[in-house]
Amino acid sequence: MTVRLLPSGPDAILVECGSQAEVLALHEALAAEPPAGLVELVPAARTVLVSVDHRVLPLETAASWVRRAAQRSPADGAVAPSSATVLPERAAPVVLDVSYDGEDLDDTARLLGIGTAELVARHLAAEWRVAFIGFAPGFAYLVSDDWPYRVPRLDAPRTRVPAGSLALADGYTGAYPRESPGGWRLIGRTEAVLWDELAEPPARLVPGARVRFRESGSRIGADS
């Protein structure tokens, strides 16, 4: 794949990829062999931030490392670099039990022009991946090739969204690890603990991880 290396101060490079799939592939390739002096590797929608301790890992050396990893990664994003490191990408999917009873479930299905049951079925059938974490500690942005829908955010964000709420925005699924304000459309909830500051890692969903949803409990007021 071709990447652009954008300046980000004396201790970081912002690497721009062509797509979310390329970000996932590049992040995987980089995470597989972290050099000494690497401080942060932060994937996002189109970029990976590589931040270093330049006294240990000069920025030029980090840039060559990134270019080599990008050259090895095909442009379509599918990649399997050999590595002894156990990456979340290779691990079995994290399965989250979900009750599809979110406040916005029926409205969201209507907005997409499909039935509630179809929305739930498509959501359950899709295999998801954590593209990146943003917005709040442990708040995972999940993407899926099996998910064709783009959902607009609420016009007015809620001041309080309960922890465990499963929600949609743009092409993403997200789950609120803790209670917070939020503008995503709520489709369900999970009892899973998504954030525990005493756990290692504290986030249940980490970048690159595969995720499946499993229905638990019945929906209330669904129009199917």
Binding site: L6, P7, S8, G9, P10, D11, A12, L14, E16, V39, E40, L41, V42, P43, A44, A45, R46, T47, L49, S51, F132, I133, G134, F135, A136, P137, G138, F139, R178, E197, P201, P202, A203, V206, P207
Partner: protein, 287 residues
């Protein structure tokens, strides 16, 4: 374990160390003292490791009683420091006898006092740090009146008589900050990029640990549309849709959706923490 008993926290009093780097991929920012150099200095003065936890006191109005004899050092903002009503000097180790009250009056220069305490503030660590991240709600809760803040064990190093670096009071007039190019500088017109360095900016009252907004001319974009959220580094200057720049602080969100035109050079970053509302700011290219 001995402790500091808080009588009044002032406008805001937070426990801060040098933060928790390396967790941005999980949505956790580095956080840590806004004026990192001031915390490191205060710690060196009382014989602590530079990253020991201290107190970051916004503007002053802080009062605390030492339960046992303690050594403290106050750096960062400058204003009257009193120990049982007697004025004490800034940026040196000061003995606070058991039962005596330390008071920080409203700052006259700069905005944030950093208080180093020999032994460090021994609040529980969260994810490897004792820093309060105000946006993420991680780390020790903001210090309140009546709190008893435990002080850690005596470090081996002695209290320092002099530090290797001279400590200067924060500047009152126009502050000059150095910038390096940001990742999205090419999203702005040439005129906007020139204006950033030519204009005089004013520190907005909208300034906290998340970001410091600057008032001035609008910085026009060349590229319209939305930027997909991306990770930022400390000191990133993002520009809102209306063209106003904000310098992102220690508790910024891990990713942001506004283009970053420039980044405050590390050597200038601590000075942002001491900007007072209304204070003029100018930028120059980092050498």
């Amino acid at each position: 374990m001995t402790a500091l008993r808080i009588v009044a926290p002032g406008a805001s009093c937070l426990v801060e160390d040098l933060g928790r780097p390396g967790l941005a991929r999980l949505g956790v920012g580095r956080s840590g003292a806004a004026d990192r150099g001031a915390l490191a200095l205060a710690n060196r003065l009382v014989g602590n490791a530079e990253g020991a936890a201290g107190l970051e006191v916004l503007l002053g109005g802080f009062r605390a009683v030492a339960e046992a004899d303690a050594w403290i050092a106050v750096t960062g903002a400058r204003g009257p420091i009193l120990v049982d009503g007697v004025e004490a000097p800034p940026a040196v180790a000061v003995r606070v006898p058991a039962g005596a009250e330390l008071e920080l009056r409203p700052a006259e220069h700069g905005l944030r006092y950093l208080v180093g305490v020999r032994g460090g503030i021994a609040a529980p660590e969260v994810l490897g740090s004792r820093s309060r991240d105000t946006l993420a709600g991680l780390g020790p809760v903001p210090v309140a009146a009546g709190d008893r803040l435990p002080i850690g064990p005596e470090p081996e190093a002695p209290v320092a008589l002099l530090d290797r670096e001279a400590a200067f009071a924060p500047v009152d007039g126009p502050v000059v900050l150095e910038l390096v190019p940001g990742p999205r500088a090419d999203w702005f017109t040439d005129a906007a990029r020139a204006l950033l360095f030519d204009a005089e900016w004013r520190t907005s009252a909208a300034a906290d640990r998340v970001g410091t907004r600057l008032e001035g001319p609008a910085l026009d974009r060349l590229v319209a549309g939305e930027l997909a959220s991306e990770a930022t580094v400390p000191g990133s200057m993002q520009v809102s849709t209306s063209g106003q720049p904000t310098i992102l602080g220690p508790d910024r969100p891990v990713t942001g959706g506004y283009p970053v035109i420039a980044i405050v050079a590390p050597a200038s970053l601590d000075r942002v923490a001491q900007l007072r509302p209304g204070q003029p700011v100018r930028f120059r290219h980092a050498r």
